[in-house]
C-alpha cells in the first residue's frame, strides 16, 4: 500500500541487512493510476492444479478465474441472463439446440480474436477426456462416464460468428452452466498448451478475454491482475470501473483476513465466517445464500424406524432448528424451510414457517407410530426395542457441524429418540453409502437450480442418501428436467418440495451462505448468482 511503502522499505533494508538478506529485498513500485484493490481470500487448494476452469470443481477457483475468463452469457442475481460474448442467443422450441451469435469485437489479452471456432475449441476442450473435467462437463449436460448417454452432443460452427450447441435430449440448466466461470473461454493459444500447464496456471497459460489480465502468480500467496484496458465487451448493462490493479492475496486464516479488512490493508475479503460477521465494524457484508439444497439431514426411508413417515416427521419437528442454527452460526446462516434454499430458482416460499419446532406434536406422532415404551435411559421403545437411529458423517467433521449435531442430539433425546453419532473415515463412509446402509447423513449441495433435487430424490440419484424411490416423484422430476419454460419448471419443483414437506426424506436445517465483506472505499462491487464478488465495475 502506497501509504506504507516508503517506511517499510526503509525498515526492510535495515532488517534485511541485519539478517544478511539484503540481496532478497525487492521493494515493489507503485504504478497504479486507478488504484489497487486488495482482495483477500481463503484460497484453499487453488495452487494444487486448480487454475483450469474447465477442469477444476473449486468454488474459490471460480471466484478468482472469473476476472480473467468471460462466458458466452452472464447470469444475473435474479436468475435472468444477459448477453456477454454472445450478443444474442436462441433456444430451439424442442430444447435440442442453442444458437449463439458472437460479438465481433472481442479479443483475448494475447491478441487472438474470438470466433465460432474458438468457442467450439473451448467446449471440445471441456469434454475432452484429457481435461478430466470435474465440473464443467456436467454443467453443460455431458456425461464423462458414458458419453453416449449425454444430453450434450456437440458444438457446431455455423459461420464465423455463429455457433450452435446440439443436444440428444433437452437439458434445461445449459444456459446456467454456460454462464459460470467453469465455462469461461480460453484464448486458442492457451488451449494448445499441456493440461499440466493449464492446471498449474501462469500469466502465459491463464489467458482469457476478461476485464483483468493475470500478470503475476505466486501459488499459495498472491495473484496480481491488471485491468484489461481494451475491455469493451462487458455483460449487457454492467459498468466498467477504474481500479487498475486487483491484488488477490491468499490468507488462509479467517482472523487475519478480518484484520486485514478492518485495518484497511485489504478492501474486500471473501470466505468470512458466519460468526465473524458482527466483528467487522462498519464494513459492508454481503450474505448470499447459496442456491441448491440446504445443509440438511437425509433420513433413509428404507431403514428401521425411519421407514415410518411419522417417525421422520417427529424427528423434523423435534429439532429446534432455529435456535440450534443461531447458537452455532449466529446471524451468518439463515435457517432453511425447504429442500431448496431461498435463492434457488423454483424455491417454494410457501413452506416458510410451516413446520416450526413442536415437541408435543413430535411426541404425539411417535406415540401414534407405536413407540410408547420407555427404557431405563429414557428413550422410547417398541416391542422392547429402543428407538435409535445412527447419524453417519465422514472425517474430518468440522467443529461447527459437530456443535450443531450435539444440539440436535439433545433435542431428539428430549422426545425420546436416541441419535447415535458415528464419524467414520471417507473410505468406510463410501462403503456404507453405496448400498445405502446409513440411517441418517448430512450435507449441503450447491447447484444452479431445482435440478439438484433430482440428484437427491430421484430413484438412483447420486445424492439420494434418503434412498427415495417413488415413480410419481420421478415423473415430476423428469418433466421438470425436460421443461424449458422456467415458470412451468418452478411449479414442478414446488411440487417436489411439497412432497418432501410431507414425506420428510430431507430435513433442511440451514442455508450455507457465501459471506463477503468490503470496505466503504470500494465502489461498484457486484455479485453473481452464487454470491461471488465481481470486480469488473470496481473503483477505489
Amino acid at each position: 500500500m502506497p501509504r506504507h511503502a516508503r517506511s517499510t522499505a526503509a525498515v526492510a533494508l535495515v532488517v534485511a541487512a541485519g539478517f544478511g538478506l539484503a540481496a532478497c529485498a525487492a521493494p515493489s513500485g507503485d504504478d497504479a493510476d486507478g488504484g489497487t484493490v486488495t482482495f483477500a481470500i481463503e484460497g484453499g487448494n487453488i495452487a494444487n492444479g486448480h487454475m483450469n476452469p474447465h477442469r477444476t470443481q473449486l468454488d474459490s477457483s471460480a471466484m478468482v478465474l472469473r476476472n480473467v475468463f468471460d462466458s458466452l452469457v452472464a447470469q444475473n442475481q435474479d436468475g435472468s441472463f444477459s448477453p456477454w460474448l454472445a450478443e444474442s442467443y436462441e433456444v430451439a422450441d424442442d430444447g435440442l439446440s442453442y444458437t449463439f451469435t458472437l460479438r465481433d469485437d472481442v479479443t483475448f489479452s494475447d491478441g487472438e480474436a474470438l470466433d465460432a471456432e474458438v468457442v467450439k475449441a473451448n467446449f471440445d476442450h471441456v469434454i475432452d477426456p484429457e481435461t478430466t473435467s470435474f465440473r464443467a462437463a456436467a454443467l453443460i449436460g455431458y456425461n464423462t462416464e458414458q458419453p453416449e448417454d449425454s444430453a450434450y452432443r456437440e458444438a457446431v460452427v455455423v459461420d464465423d460468428r455463429t455457433v450452435r450447441f446440439e443436444f440428444d435430449r433437452p437439458f434445461a440448466p445449459f444456459l446456467s452452466g454456460v454462464a459460470t466461470p467453469f465455462l469461461g473461454l480460453y484464448s486458442p493459444a492457451s488451449l494448445e498448451l499441456d493440461q499440466a500447464d493449464l492446471a498449474a496456471g501462469s500469466p502465459e497459460a491463464t489467458v482469457g478475454s476478461g476485464p483483468f489480465v493475470l500478470t503475476e502468480y505466486v501459488p499459495d500467496q498472491e495473484l496480481v491482475l491488471e485491468r484489461n484496458d481494451d475491455y469493451a465487451w462487458a455483460p449487457e448493462g454492467a459498468e466498467i470501473g477504474t481500479a487498475q490493479t486487483l491484488d488477490i492475496r491468499i490468507l488462509p486464516e479467517a482472523s487475519v483476513r478480518n484484520g486485514a479488512l478492518t485495518s484497511g490493508e485489504a478492501q474486500v475479503i471473501a470466505d468470512v465466517l458466519p460468526t465473524d460477521v458482527d466483528q467487522l465494524g462498519d464494513a459492508e457484508t454481503e450474505v448470499w445464500e447459496l442456491p441448491g439444497v440446504p445443509y440438511s439431514l437425509y433420513l433413509n426411508v428404507n431403514r428401521g424406524a425411519l421407514q415410518d413417515v411419522r417417525v421422520r416427521e417427529a424427528i423434523a419437528r423435534g429439532i429446534d432448528v432455529e435456535a440450534d442454527v443461531e447458537s452455532v452460526y449466529g446471524e451468518g446462516y439463515p435457517r432453511a424451510w425447504s429442500a431448496l434454499t431461498s435463492t434457488t430458482p423454483g424455491y417454494d416460499a410457501a413452506l416458510e414457517g410451516s413446520w416450526d419446532v413442536d415437541a408435543a406434536a413430535a411426541e404425539a406422532l411417535l406415540d401414534e407410530a407405536g413407540w410408547t415404551g420407555t427404557d431405563a435411559e429414557g428413550f422410547r421403545t417398541k416391542d422392547g426395542e429402543r428407538l435409535s437411529v445412527e447419524w453417519v458423517a465422514w472425517t474430518p467433521q468440522p467443529d461447527d457441524a459437530a456443535a450443531l449435531a450435539d444440539l440436535i442430539q439433545q433435542d431428539l433425546a428430549g422426545i425420546g429418540v436416541e441419535l447415535v453419532r458415528s464419524v467414520v473415515e471417507p473410505a468406510e463412509y463410501n462403503a456404507r453409502y453405496g448400498p445405502k446402509e446409513i440411517d441418517i447423513t448430512d450435507w449441503s449441495f450447491a447447484g444452479t437450480g431445482g435440478e439438484v433435487l433430482a440428484n437427491h430424490l430421484r430413484t438412483g440419484g447420486f445424492q439420494n442418501a434418503s434412498a427415495v424411490s417413488d415413480p410419481s416423484l420421478d415423473a415430476i422430476l423428469d418433466e421438470a428436467a425436460a421443461s424449458t419454460d422456467p415458470a412451468e419448471q418452478a411449479a414442478l419443483y414446488e411440487q417436489v418440495q411439497q412432497w418432501n414437506a410431507e414425506q420428510w426424506a430431507i430435513v433442511p436445517l440451514y442455508s450455507p451462505a457465501r459471506i463477503t465483506a468490503s470496505s466503504s472505499d470500494v465502489e461498484g462491487l457486484s455479485y453473481d448468482i452464487y454470491g461471488r464478488p465481481l470486480f469488473l465495475g470496481v473503483s477505489v
Binding site: V11, L21, A26, S28, G49, R135, D247, E265, P426
Partner: protein
C-alpha cells in the same frame, strides 16, 4: 594424545581412512534415506482415505469411471509392492514422481516452494542465534532470572498465537509491516520473528546451561587467574557451550520446518510448510514422500555436518577417535 603424531606421519593409510570414513558417513546417509522412504511409504499405505476421493473433492459431479481413470493416471491401480519398488527405482535416478494434485514433476513443485521457506528459515535461524547469544550473555549478570523467565515464556508460546499477536500489533495496529505486502523484504520480518521466538528460547536455554557448566570447569578458573575479564572468559566458555548447541541441529531443523507450516499459514506465505500441509490433507502421496525423503536427507547431512563441526570445536573428540581407531 600420544598416538596422534605417529598416525599423522603415515599419510597413505590416512587418506584411505579418510575415504573409509567418508564412505561410512555416506552409507549412513543412504540408510537414513532408504528408511525414511520406506517408513513414509508404509505410513501412507496405512493412513485411511483415498487420494482419488480427495483429488476429485466434494463439489465434483463424476462417477466411477472418471474415478477409475484418475486412479489409473496416478498409477494407483498397481499393487503397493510394485509402487514401492517403482518409487525406490525412481529415487535412485533422482525421479521423485509426479504430484497427484498439480500434475507436475514433484521436483518442480517442491523446487518452487523451497526458496521462500529457505529465506524464512535462514532469517529465523540467524535471528534466533543472535537472540540466544544476547540472552546467554545477559544472563551472566544480574538479569539471569529475568532472561530465563523470558526464555521459558517464549519456548512455551504457541507459534500460531504469537504470529497472530505480532500481526495484530505490528501490521494491523501500527502498520509497520503490512501483511498484504509480499514482495519486499519487510514482509519477511514478522514471519521470521514468529518462527525465531521458540527456537531462540531453546537455543538460549541450552547455551546458558553449557556456559554454566564450562564456567564451573577448572580451566575457567585458570583463565580468570590469568587476569582475563568476563568477555575474554566468554570467548572460551562459548566454545564449550557451542558443542552442546550443535547437537541440537536436528531438533532445530524440525522446529523450523514444523514452525514454517504454522507461520506460512498465518502469514499467507508460499513455501514448503504450506505445501506439506496441503499435500497431507490432499493425500498427494508423491509430494509427501518426497518431502519426507528430503527432510531425511537434510537431517542426515546436517547431523554429519554437526558431528564434524563438533570435532572442529572440541579437540577431545578428534583425539579420542584416533586413539581408538
Amino acid at each position: 594424545m600420544t598416538a596422534a603424531p605417529t598416525q599423522r606421519r603415515r599419510t597413505a593409510p590416512g587418506a584411505a581412512a579418510l575415504l573409509r570414513a567418508l564412505a561410512s558417513r555416506l552409507g549412513a546417509v543412504l540408510m537414513v534415506l532408504w528408511g525414511a522412504a520406506t517408513l513414509a511409504f508404509l505410513a501412507l499405505q496405512l493412513v485411511p482415505g483415498d487420494p482419488v476421493d480427495t483429488i476429485i473433492g466434494v463439489d465434483a459431479q463424476v462417477g466411477e469411471e472418471t474415478r477409475a481413470r484418475v486412479r489409473e493416471d496416478l498409477g494407483l491401480d498397481l499393487p503397493p509392492w510394485l509402487r514401492y519398488l517403482q518409487y525406490l527405482g525412481g529415487l535412485l535416478v533422482g525421479d521423485l514422481g509426479t504430484s497427484f494434485q498439480a500434475r507436475q514433476p514433484v521436483a518442480e513443485v517442491i523446487g518452487s516452494a523451497v526458496g521462500p521457506t529457505l529465506q524464512l528459515a535462514a532469517a529465523a535461524l540467524g535471528l534466533a542465534v543472535l537472540l540466544a547469544l544476547v540472552g546467554a550473555v545477559l544472563s551472566r549478570g544480574v538479569l539471569r532470572g529475568f532472561v530465563s523467565a523470558v526464555e521459558l515464556v517464549a519456548a512455551s508460546t504457541p507459534t500460531f498465537w504469537s504470529g497472530l499477536l505480532l500481526i495484530t500489533v505490528f501490521s494491523f495496529g501500527l502498520g509497520w509491516f503490512p501483511i498484504i505486502a509480499t514482495r519486499d523484504a519487510a514482509s519477511l520480518v514478522l514471519p521470521a520473528v514468529t518462527l525465531a521466538i521458540p527456537v531462540a528460547a531453546i537455543l538460549g536455554q541450552v547455551l546458558r546451561e553449557g556456559l554454566d557448566a564450562a564456567a564451573a570447569e577448572p580451566f575457567a578458573l585458570t583463565v580468570r587467574a590469568r587476569g582475563a575479564g568476563p568477555i575474554r572468559l566468554l570467548g572460551h566458555t562459548l566454545r564449550h557451550a557451542g558443542v552442546g548447541t550443535l547437537a541440537l541441529a536436528g531438533y532445530l531443523l524440525g522446529s523450523l520446518l514444523g514452525g514454517a507450516v504454522l507461520v506460512e499459514t498465518v502469514f499467507g506465505r508460499a513455501g514448503l510448510g504450506r505445501m506439506v500441509l496441503a499435500a497431507i490433507l490432499n493425500r498427494d502421496l508423491p509430494v509427501v514422500m518426497a518431502l519426507v525423503v528430503l527432510s531425511g536427507l537434510v537431517f542426515a547431512v546436517l547431523s554429519q555436518v554437526a558431528d564434524l563441526g563438533a570435532r572442529a570445536l572440541d579437540p577431545r573428540l578428534r583425539s579420542s577417535e584416533r586413539a581408538s581407531g
